[in-house]
Amino acid sequence: MPAARIIPCLDVADGKVVKGVQFRDHRVIGDIVEHAARYRDEGADELVFYDITASADGRSLDTDWIHRVAEVIDIPFSVAGGIDSVARAEACLAAGADKVSVNSPALADPDLIGHLADAFGRQCVVLGIDSFEDEDGTWRVKQFTGRPEATRDSGRAMLDWAKEGSARGAGEIVLNCMNRDGVRRGYDLAQLGALTACVEVPVIASGGAGTPDHFREAFEAGCSGALAASVFHDRRIAIGDLKAHLAASGLEVRT
């Protein structure tokens, strides 16, 4: 079995690591290479960089910081935010990224997923899904979640979109459960379990991590990786301690 992957996610604006997902309110918290190196040294298995400016402004992704990260770290990393074409994805990969993650642009143009898989191989293509549980309990896919005032329902059901996305060539799915985002009460195991049962590709849990047990639960629900931001940034959970906890629970981790 591959090791259960622990994946810190960093928000990036103008080449700096920022905090606060509201793109107007973000605060610079540091240099991107220093943060990447810190997480690598702490034992992160993979990193995700989400360029919040690119997706919010419709600007092209600045690839200079991608290259600076690629120079320094020796673990895989993916880039998300604002990737809406094969050309932009190619720019990210040419700068040294290992994977690109697409979300709203794939909802707008589902063919994009297949174009990316054809060009780079499906192992380079991650589909990010922002799912919101409605009052009636259905899991709806939301679009343009980077800006609260722009967020809208995509008209798609989460499981249907995940199945379509993987059939179109996504090699991995990051499921971000919006109801859990930022509340640190645990990942949405019902959604994650339902998703891992119906797609063949690896699933990465996102949204809700607050304790080491939350990570264990996500892996036991069938997830291949678990993504988190605030618990790592705020140093509430040290990656080394987390891996020791998972190993003690019988999970394979990278040491």
Partner: protein, 194 residues
Amino acid sequence: MSALAILDLGYGNVESVRLGFVRLGAEPVLVRDRRAVENAERLVVPGVGHAGYAMERLEAHGLVDALKARVRPTLGICVGMQLLFEASDECERPLLGLLPGRVAALSSSPTTPVPHMGWTRVKDVAAGVGLEQDEQLYFAHSFAAPESPYSVASMLYAGRHAAAVRKDNLWGAQFHPERSSAPGARYLEAFLAS
């Protein structure tokens, strides 16, 4: 003549691989012409997404015979390693055929999603390639090469597969040494020292 050349066919993780060697103090150059492939002291063939597409690019650049004729150290990474075999489930086109066997699609199961993405332990590790038994390396692939007398490390994921191969100066890594932390760096160093 370049000491270390990386074949750049356009797409793929060429820059990631290049930086992996740069971190070791090497000075790789990117090449795509036949003479460079013939003359490089050491040549790296990185992965491009799809085996059929990679072969098509090699043929379009007239590089197939030059690759087959190489006797100096040559390293294929990921799809670059798969190209060394005879054929693949991924394409109709024959591959380079420098190693025996057919690359097969990984079969998914609830415990083995496909693509195989992540850090997996290697088994039956041979000496001389910089790796140790049970080390965890980073994989990202949907197709895998069979074990053979030329396997120098194996990997269990929906069956047993070659994680690394070596036949004289011909090296192959299914994993991504440039993204496999310290063990990956040791593997690249072993190739540079070969």
